[in-house]
């Protein structure tokens, strides 16, 4: 029998499992936990990014500053409008397109793949391209609309508050509807076809089959999709900043942009952090409430 060399200490499976979880935990703490804790800490300090080491504890003053600032409330309102509009459109269009893509047609998988394109392309690229597309004089959007006679004069997509908000919503819907489509399509494929067959036998038309079979089956996935999309959309920074920089004026400011402006342009990182804390609390409470309402509704049905 050959002599065996020295062996590494014998660890249990549990210990090895912990060992493999440690890198994730370290990453989560460093890149998620620590920034959150730091942001909460900074919310109670006066922090000038150009003067590190000169942070001053000021209690709730940053929160008083933002709650007294009309721009904070405007940004909050605009963020809400932007989020609700985007989510509504993403959900409706996403479900509609998913239903269309659920048809067993030859080559349908090609279309499914193409629909992912907006989701894959980096936001920076999309925003810069859309800026050019929306250019009132040389942009392809106005050119196309004029060519088909829908408009006679150029639309200034980014020059008025209403149009700028609509344009940023359009960009957001275009980019993230594929996420809704993927989730809904996956669920659609698990719905037993017998349910539809039975409904047809009972004389249910297309709309009744959708309302009484498809929609209830999609409810759970839509609950999750809406929650996640709402959180992500409310926090969105890059689409708006790259397309309009929060303008014209401050008409497309949301809280993420407000926080960024306070932190970097205004050199008030504490105020920016306080804004982030308010956003976090708002979204947390909103999500809990939303999930409770839907879980409560399910319990009632049960």
């Amino acid at each position: 029998m050959m002599a065996q060399g020295p062996r590494l200490p014998r660890l249990s499976d549990r210990q090895i499992g912990i060992l493999f979880v440690i890198p994730f935990l370290v990453t989560a703490v460093v890149f998620m936990g620590y920034p959150v804790v730091q942001a909460i800490r900074m919310a109670f300090y006066s922090v000038n990014p150009l003067r590190p080491g000169h942070d001053t504890f000021i209690g709730l003053d940053n929160f008083y500053t933002i709650f007294d600032d009309p721009l904070f409330w405007d940004s909050f309102h605009q963020a809400t409008v932007w989020t609700l509009s985007s989510i509504f459109l993403q959900t409706v269009i996403g479900v509609a397109l998913a239903l269309l893509l659920h048809v067993p047609l030859r080559g349908i998988s090609v279309f499914r793949g193409l629909l992912l394109f907006p989701y894959i392309v980096p936001t920076v690229v999309i925003a810069l391209i859309w800026q050019w597309m929306f250019n009132p004089e040389i942009g392809v959007v106005n050119y196309s609309l004029k060519s088909i006679g829908l408009i006679e004069e150029n639309i200034y997509w980014l020059s008025t508050p209403t149009m700028a908000m609509a344009s940023t919503v359009m960009l957001n819907v275009w980019k993230y509807t594929p996420f809704v489509i993927i989730c809904v399509l996956a669920k659609l494929q698990t719905i037993p076809l017998e349910l539809y067959d039975a409904a047809k036998v009972d004389g249910a038309g297309a709309w009744r089959r959708f309302a009484d079979i498809t929609l209830p089956q999609l409810k759970e996935v839509l609950i999750v999709v809406v929650v996640f999309r709402t959180i992500w959309t409310f926090n969105k920074f890059e689409e708006i900043y790259l397309l309009t920089k929060g303008g014209p004026g401050t008409s497309t400011f949301n809280l993420a942009i407000y926080s960024f402006e306070q932190s970097i342009a205004n050199l008030r990182m504490g105020v920016g952090a306080a804004t982030a804390v308010v956003m976090m609390v708002f979204l947390l409470l909103g999500s809990i409430l939303y999930l409770r309402v839907f879980r409560f509704a399910e319990e009632e049905e049960a």
Binding site: P49, P136, N154, K245, G246, I264
Partner: protein, 462 residues
């Protein structure tokens, strides 16, 4: 469990354990490999990061610096990074906050004053001594670029005013008077006449939420006799004034004769307006000529620049002159000495300074007497057809020079950089044109914002 299976399980466990330990070791080693640049710089090799605004001239300066490097520090390479005007403040503040600014930056004077007062820049008195303290062009002083509490912090690169740029073919066609004689009323009348008779925007200014709007507004404000702060009186906010109201009213009066999209206009859209023939007049710096010469020769042939229209009451015709210079961030900068040497090198070589000016005529104006009077300066082809315009940018505008960091050249104000970062002036304009506030309300709002800046950052000016 058989002995073989137990043996395999033990071997797999050993493998897993070993892998985990190895991964941890690699991570630790990787962190050691990413040594800070300062460690590498001790060997004086590496890339010296230089920030410049869009345009070829910063690249020319960097070429000059690289010539020094080739002769004296072959391990170093100066590398230009171009930052758009709209991004400079944010990017600079972000990188300074992270402690990783570029090693040399080309900045406008209002921003330079803020950085000086914050203690973020390296003094360059030694560099100025080598360049020659008596070299400044008439009508300028070293301090216009950046002097604070007895020390110079900025080496001049160029000065660049924005002027009234006009399509003379249209002016002559409509029988309008010489733009050099205009008052604000004449300018308004010209914009209106052009709009009505030629069915085109008479004038294009930036009205977006950006620095270009601030610079256009500031020139008009100073001409009207207004200012943001009174430097001589503890930087008291004096923005809420009849002059500010008058300026906002004037912009509002010009608004109907501007392109419809002007509310989102920034630097490049104003240039586009002139080069594409959309508008007949703009306020702009000289780079329009370079673009027009390349893309629209007919437009180039017909444009001419003048000092701004005079304010009807004060007679002033201030421009916004960006006294642009080289500043050396001192945080985490391992190349301070090398940067000083390189800047001094190219600034004492007249050939490089002429090349610098020639790289974008007439956008970058010479700052040293010997360069301005060198016959080689006139060898640029634009001098054949645009000599008056060029001399207006280079020389004749200086007596009307002003900017937000040194209002009416009465003294440096570090608060101006913060004002620009917050886009207070642009927002004040937008309160009137977008939110339909009265000019008086907007002026009050702007004054409140400026007061807030003064209170928060008063330590910079005491």
């Amino acid at each position: 469990m058989t002995d073989d299976k137990l043996h395999n399980d033990l071997t797999r466990r050993d493998l897993l354990t070993g892998t985990a330990v190895t991964a941890a070791g690699l991570a630790a080693a990787g962190s050691m490999l990413t040594r800070p640049s300062s460690a590498r710089a001790q060997g004086k090799s590496g890339v010296v990061r230089v920030w410049g605004e869009p345009g070829p001239y910063a690249g020319v300066a960097v070429d000059g610096m690289n010539e020094w490097a080739q002769k004296n520090a072959p391990g170093l390479k100066f590398d230009i990074e171009t930052i758009g005007w709209g991004s400079v403040y944010v990017k600079l503040m972000t990188d300074l906050a992270a402690g990783q600014p570029a090693n040399l930056i080309s900045v406008e004077s209002p921003l330079a004053y803020q950085l000086m007062a914050e203690g973020l820049l390296e003094p360059v008195d030694d560099v100025i001594d080598r360049i020659g303290r008596d070299r400044m062009i008439e009508g300028t002083k070293w301090e216009y670029w950046g002097k604070w509490k007895g020390h110079q912090y900025v080496v001049p690169a160029h000065h660049q005013p924005h002027l009234l740029m006009v399509r003379m073919d249209i002016i002559n066609e409509l029988g309008l008077s010489n733009p050099d004689t205009w008052t604000w009323d004449d300018l308004l009348n010209a914009a209106k006449t052009i709009h009505e008779k030629k069915k085109m925007p008479g004038i294009a200014l930036a009205l977006g939420r950006n620095l270009c709007t601030a610079y256009h507004f500031a020139a008009l404000l100073h001409s009207a006799g207004g200012r943001m702060f009174d430097v001589a009186n503890k930087f008291e906010v004096v923005f809420d004034s009849p002059a500010t109201v008058e300026t906002l009213e004037f912009i509002d009066q010009l608004r109907p004769y501007m392109p419809k999209g002007a509310t989102e206009y920034s630097f490049l859209q104003v240039v586009d307006s002139m080069v594409t023939g959309k508008a007949a007049m703009v306020f702009y710096w000289g780079r329009v000529y370079g673009r027009a010469a390349e893309e629209a020769p007919e437009i180039f042939k017909n444009i001419q620049s003048f000092n701004h229209a005079r304010h009807p009451r004060t007679g002033n015709r201030y421009n916004w002159n960006d006294f642009q210079g080289w500043a050396i961030p001192k945080q985490n900068n391992p190349f301070i000495n090398e940067v000083k040497e390189a800047v001094a090198y190219y600034q004492t070589k007249r050939e490089w300074l002429i090349r610098y000016v020639h790289s974008l005529v007439p956008n970058v104006s010479p700052v040293y007497k010997d360069v301005a009077s060198d016959p080689r300066l006139l060898e640029h082809p634009f001098f054949k057809t645009k000599k008056d315009t060029i001399m207006t940018y280079y020389v004749n505008s200086l007596k009307y020079a002003s900017n937000t960091g040194n209002e009416l050249l009465k003294g440096a104000n570090p608060l101006a950089g913060i004002v620009h970062g917050r886009l207070i002036l642009a927002q004040t304009v937008q309160k009137v044109i977008l939110d339909n506030w009265t000019p008086a309300e907007a002026a009050k709002w702007g004054a409140q914002q400026l007061e807030s800046v003064r209170k928060e950052h008063f330590r910079l000016v005491i």
